[in-house]
Amino acid sequence: MQNAINPIEEMYGSRPRRWWIYTVVVLIMVVLLGWSGNAIQFKGLAARGSDVAYGIVYGIFHPDMNLLINWTRDGVPYMLFETVAIALLGTLIGGVLAVPFSFLAAENVVPKWVAFFSRAFILLIRTIPSLVWALVWIRVTGPGAFCGVVTQSICSIGMISKLYINAIEDLDTRILESLDAAGCTTFQKIRYGILPQLYANFVSTIIYRFDINIKDATTLGIVGAGGIGAALIQSINSRRWSMVGAFLFGMIVLMLIIEFSSTKIRKKLARG
């Protein structure tokens, strides 16, 4: 019995002890939290804070029905439609613009230094918040849905090319050699050797970004770039809670539908 247990205890005794790593990690966490805790203090509710909290809850359960089933330009359905339109155009244009960028940033296509600079450029696009892009583009296009489209086309490049690059760097180039051996022209090599490998991945990326862009388009409205956001923020600021409820309700339903269908399509694409 002793002999049977001993090896187990030996192994247990010699298990990796990494308590000092854990201590360091915990210490860093505690220091960071203590440091950030001193700035974020709860200063109590605002003057009418509890009214606001109550109003939001009330509004969500009593949405303004006139707004929710109003088919004119001021109704929720039209605004949601506009939001979807902005996201659709923005994602498509962004998806097309991202193609040259991602080929320029793939290390198996171009020399390393070119890839490095393209990556830095893509990171720069990604870092600038979409709200800032919108505020800058408003100076060019003026407020409205078109500004949202332009903003999203630029913003989407960042994330889309990052995912495109992964797909391009995973390309299996041996197929090209066999197509070469079969006597294919360059165009045929691209059509039958490269496109089938990238197609599913690219479409999946675009659909994923569309999902994100819908959410983003609702916030872009806050700075005046069209979509439902402008009306939503106005109704929040003027404290018309049943209107807020109607907008939030519409938005939640739209996003649940889009997310559900996009996940479904992407799963289908992944399975082939």
Binding site: W35, L89, I128, V132, V149, D216, T218
Partner: protein, 283 residues
């Protein structure tokens, strides 16, 4: 034979029932070849794009005519006003503090909810479904909308921003986490239960070590995102860099804006790289 063909017919999707698939006969075997759907997808896409162009007043001419405005602004942004740096620092620190605090609280809250929402640990199907719908609703609310509501409830400032970041992180991490919990190996859990451990004990020593690296990795990822998200919350009065961004653009001081953006860029670069390094170590 006829009945077999009928059931095959019933399985066909609506599309194939309208546009009958081609039948190809190879020797004795008959194979159905469905018609290509590419044209239908393309047609839908073209109609959708056409509708979107009308709704959004898409006009490429504006960009060509007024595009120079953009380059004017870009030039100023890339020519930042370095003396402005000392004013950027305090809100930048606020932004970082908001995201540290928000990420931490959000991730801590996410763990128990993710465990409750994973179907392989919680066998109460109705409860799981209801919880997931609620979590989905939390996730669909844009951070900026949450922040603007929070700013009305809890005075303007960093507290409102922290609450918004917390909610956002909570939604995101819970979803990623319950998806990974559902892929873990339940063998250890079942073995421990068979040995007489309580469900909690079994989870703690059988499942938790499996999800811990993923959990930490998701938390770091959410922190990466949060730095970016927190930087704009100030726009609706929730503290941080957003206040400055809004102010600089309002005054058309694009050199100052450039300084803000460059600082943000540097911070994001450092945090992204550190966190990606740590995440690679975790996996």
């Amino acid at each position: 034979m006829a009945r077999k063909a009928k059931t095959a017919q019933a399985k066909l999707a609506l599309f194939d029932r309208i546009f009958k698939p081609k039948t190809m006969t190879v020797g004795e075997h008959t194979v159905l070849k469905p018609r290509s759907r590419t044209w239908l997808i393309l047609l839908t896409l073209i109609v959708a794009v056409w509708g979107a162009v009308i709704v959004t007043d898409f006009d490429f001419g504006i960009i060509i005519r007024r595009g120079y405005q953009f380059t004017v602004i870009l030039k100023k942004i890339f020519n930042p006003d370095w003396s402005y740096f000392h004013k950027v620092l305090p809100p930048l620190l606020d932004t970082i503090k908001m995201s540290v605090m928000g990420s931490f609280i959000g991730c801590t809250l996410a763990l128990p909810f993710a465990v409750l929402a994973s179907a392989n640990i919680n066998h109460n199907g109705v409860f799981v479904a209801v919880l997931r719908v609620l979590l989905n609703i939390v996730r669909t609310l844009p951070t900026l909308v949450i922040a603007s509501i929070c700013a009305l409830i809890f005075k303007l400032g960093t507290f409102a921003g922290t609450v918004a970041i917390t909610l956002f992180t909570f939604g995101l991490v819970t979803k990623m986490l319950y998806e990974s919990i559902e892929t873990i190996d339940m063998g250890a859990f079942e073995a421990m239960e068979a040995l007489g451990a309580t469900r909690f004990q079994a989870f703690w020593s059988g499942c938790f070590p499996q999800i811990l690296p993923t959990y930490l990795s998701h938390s770091l990822y959410s922190f990466e995102i949060n730095i970016r998200a927190a930087s704009i919350l100030g726009y609706v009065g929730a503290g941080g860099l957003g206040i400055l961004i809004n102010e600089r653009i309002g005054w058309r001081d694009y050199e100052g804006l450039g300084m803000v953006l460059i600082t943000l860029f540097a911070v994001v670069l450092i945090i992204d790289n550190t966190s990606q390094y740590l995440r690679r170590k975790l996996s």
